[in-house]
């Protein structure tokens, strides 16, 4: 007996043409829709490309990149935030390298390469054009690549990984803020911060602090102790009852009043940070509560029957499953918060969006361009926001897959 060799499918059943036929032209209505929509999309893309390469004035954007990145951060100290970025990339690289060595770490590796790619691209621009941060960017790139190489080549470093983060994170903060004195490490007060630096600081502090707070509040809301339960419910409902912009105003005006100090003694950045964090934690709590409620009570009872304490039950049985179930919601909130930080303009902070939308178009030079420069800047800001939020979105998808959300 002889097997008949399998033959390729008849032409017209595979390849681009077949795909198009199946997906775009499966009937007269679909065909017409495809042609019309396709033409419109192509036309729009063509016009956009024409505008981007011909009509738009990119000079103001190029001139103002420093303003968009860090606002009034002193120009001669710019190497500090750049090195801080390098430090963070080095740490991420170290962890990514170590994880890769152990055959894991698709997620952190993805994040690492995404942002290292950005750092390398900026270094390539800095070498010919940005004299003041040329060396800093090269150093940052070397740090980033070095971290990854160390992780790959020296698996023994896994023992100091936690320590590296514990030292490196504060070091990055100190680099940006400064230590004191008049030398290269002089303090750069937060009123000078702005632009993308401010957006990143607000978003990362907001997300990292709101996460544990949110878990505590969610657990508190389910507590049997009336005081804790009452406080949690009151807090969550109060905060969620008013828009972020209201809390920003309240934090900005009321906090100094309530603490009976002059407004100068609490920097605007701190006040905004408090408002953003408290606001995010209330929403985070509700996200986590959704996860907690998805765990059937039988699991708790089973855990107690096995002799686990209440805290052990929560920590080992309930929370891991609950958090896994709400990853999409949490990441969604993180992405939202990242963009919501653009509201801080209301308390007089100059974040990335504010600088792009108002400060640069208001420079007298910008008025020399017919129609202004808002369109160009807006397009650029959209790309930057997208670059960061899209990466968060990919990481969330990978995390869901790895943890098997939806397959429980």
């Amino acid at each position: 007996m002889q097997m008949i060799p399998s033959r390729p499918p008849p032409p017209g059943e595979r390849g681009l043409v077949a795909w198009a036929r199946r997906n775009l032209f499966s009937g007269p209505v679909n065909g017409v829709t495809s042609v019309v929509v396709g033409t419109l999309v192509l036309l729009a893309a063509w016009n956009l490309l024409g505008w981007v390469t011909g009509g738009a004035s990119w000079q103001p954007l190029w001139n103002n990149l420093k303003l968009l990145a860090v606002y009034r951060y002193p120009a001669d100290l710019l190497w500090r935030p750049v090195l801080a970025a390098g430090t963070l990339l080095m740490l991420t690289g170290l962890s990514a390298g170590l994880a890769r060595h152990a055959g894991k770490g698709r997620i952190i590796g993805g994040v690492y390469w995404w942002f290292t790619g950005l750092a390398l691209a900026l270094t390539a621009i800095a070498i010919p054009f940005w004299e003041s941060v040329r060396v800093a960017w090269v150093a940052a790139s070397l740090l980033a690549l070095g971290g990854y190489a160390a992780g790959r080549l020296a698996p023994g470093l896994v023992r100091i990984q936690t320590w590296a983060w514990a030292v490196g994170l504060p070091a990055a903060v100190v680099l940006v803020y400064g230590l004191g004195g008049d030398g290269p490490m002089e303090v750069v007060r937060t009123v000078e911060w702005g632009g993308f630096l401010l957006t990143l600081v607000l978003a990362s502090v907001g997300i990292t602090v709101a996460f544990p707070l949110g878990i505590l509040l969610a657990l508190g809301r389910q507590s049997r102790l009336p005081a804790i339960k009452g406080f949690s419910i009151g807090y969550i409902e109060l905060i969620r009852g008013a828009p972020l912009i209201t809390w920003l105003f309240i934090a900005s005006l009321m906090v100094p009043l309530l603490l009976d100090v002059s407004p100068d003694s609490i920097p605007a950045l701190t006040r905004a940070m408090v408002a953003v964090t408290l606001f995010a934690s209330a929403y985070m709590a509700e996200n986590v509560r959704g996860g907690l409620q998805s765990i059937p009570n039988g699991q708790r009872e089973a855990a107690r029957a096995l002799g686990l304490s209440g805290w052990q039950t929560t920590r080992l049985i309930v929370l891991p499953q609950a958090l896994r179930a709400v990853i999409p919601a949490i990441v969604g909130q993180a992405i939202g918060l990242f963009k919501d930080t653009s509201l801080v303009f209301i308390v007089g902070l100059f974040d990335f969006f504010e600088i792009g939308r108002r400060v640069i178009p208001s420079q007298p030079e910008s008025l020399l361009y017919p129609g202004g420069v808002l369109l160009e800047i807006s397009l650029f800001m959209a790309v930057v926001y997208w670059f960061f939020t899209y990466r968060m979105s990919i990481a969330s998808r990978q995390l869901e897959k790895e943890l098997g959300v939806g397959e429980r």
């Binding site: 103002n64 407004p263 910008s366 008025l367």
Partner: protein
């Protein structure tokens, strides 16, 4: 631009903070009357309290505090081309900003010893009331309620603005009566819009207002022929008209339908500091009147014979010391920043892209309103 309901409504017409202004305006308009009064009482109370506490804590003037601190905290605008903007290096620059620099130069001897707070229209008076800033120089219109209810003291006006109209030359519109049956583009939520309605109603002129969110949209609609005219502050009309495709085909009508005197403001209750801000502002005008510029001030100080000039520059007499300043305060100020005419030309006039006429802002000797009392 006078305020009706919201202090948020602010002077500069060139597309600034309109969203907040609008929101606050609507909120204030819709609020019940007594609530508003209660709110006002509360604000007054807070201001009064802070003044009392300020007096109780220290008899010292803000002037001493600023000299101890070594920096002046100045509330400025970051979003009004020509008046206050942030350049690509992150430095504040503009007509208003130069008055911050002038005060710093006079008080501290260094025009760069200023810490700027970029304020939007909504927060500027709060910042002044809470003491976050020492002086507010942010194209702020001097009005009676700001003097009384808000608790501000206004130094001399540095810029006389007013609402005007731009029209196509071919349209034949030369006076307000010609607007009968026409359409006028205006930014929504501004006092410009309210002034326009008030003035046209008083003259019984029928017209169609077309409102837009931003200055860009307003002028875009005008250029596209959707309306016969645009109205906003004249300084804004001038700076924007240079952006029109054929600037020569448009004229700005000579009529002005509102008063917008813009100037520095400080908080009530500190006369020593108020005097300093007032007389530094006068100093810039005085210097121009007597031909003292940043180039020749040292020479004038060395050679001047006129007693009035010698007193002004601190060569003779105690006029400056009586204000709490050093005797070289005015020399520093003029040398580092310049006289009023220099400041005007640099940011708004002949040396700038706006090329604004001095108009009402000329010296009184040239038919304007700039007039400084004597230093003696």
């Amino acid at each position: 631009m006078n305020l009706h309901a919201g202090e948020a409504l602010q002077a500069g017409g060139v597309g600034v903070d309109l969203r907040e202004a609008r929101a606050m305006w609507h909120a204030a308009r819709n609020a019940p009357r007594e609530k508003e009064i209660r709110m006002r009482k509360l604000v007054t109370l807070v201001v009064a309290l802070s003044v009392v506490i300020g007096l109780a804590n220290a008899q010292d003037s803000l002037l001493d505090e600023i000299q101890d601190r070594g920096t002046l905290v100045c509330g400025a605008n970051a979003q009004l081309p020509g008046f206050g903007a942030i350049d690509s290096d992150g430095n504040f620059t503009g007509f208003d900003v130069d008055f911050c620099r002038a005060i710093a130069a006079a008080v501290l001897g260094d025009a760069d010893a200023v810490e700027y707070r970029g304020l939007n229209a909504a927060e500027r008076f709060t910042a002044l009331q809470t003491g976050e800033i020492d002086v507010l120089i942010r194209n702020t219109t001097w009005t009676s309620s700001r003097d009384s209810e808000v608790g501000a003291n206004f130094a001399p006006t540095t810029f006389y603005d007013g609402q005007g109209f731009i029209v196509r030359e071919a349209s034949g519109i030369t006076e307000l009566a010609d607007f009968e049956g026409t359409s006028i583009c205006v930014q929504s939520g501004t006092t410009t819009e309210l002034n326009l309605a008030d003035v046209m109603a008083a003259l019984d002129i029928e017209f169609t207002p077309l409102t837009f969110e931003s200055a860009d949209q307003t002028f875009g609609a005008y250029e596209a022929g959707q309306c016969d005219s645009v109205t906003t502050d004249k300084s804004g009309l001038v700076s924007r008209s240079s952006l029109l495709q054929n600037p020569d085909e448009h004229v700005i009508l000579p009529q002005t339908i509102s008063k917008e005197p813009l100037g520095p403001a400080v908080l009530h209750g500190d006369d020593t500091w108020f005097d300093v801000v007032k007389w530094v502002t006068f100093g810039t005008i005085f210097a121009e009147e007597y031909g003292i510029t940043s180039d020749n001030v040292l020479e004038v100080a060395a050679n001047a014979e006129a007693p009035v000039v010698r007193r002004f520059l601190g060569v003779d007499g105690e006029a400056l010391q009586q204000l709490g300043l050093e005797s070289d305060a005015m020399i520093n100020m003029i040398q580092q920043v310049g006289n009023y005419g220099e400041i005007f030309d640099r940011h708004l006039g002949a040396d700038s892209q706006f090329n604004l006429d001095r108009g009402l802002n000329a010296l009184y000797t040239d038919g304007g309103l700039m007039y400084a009392p004597p230093f003696r």
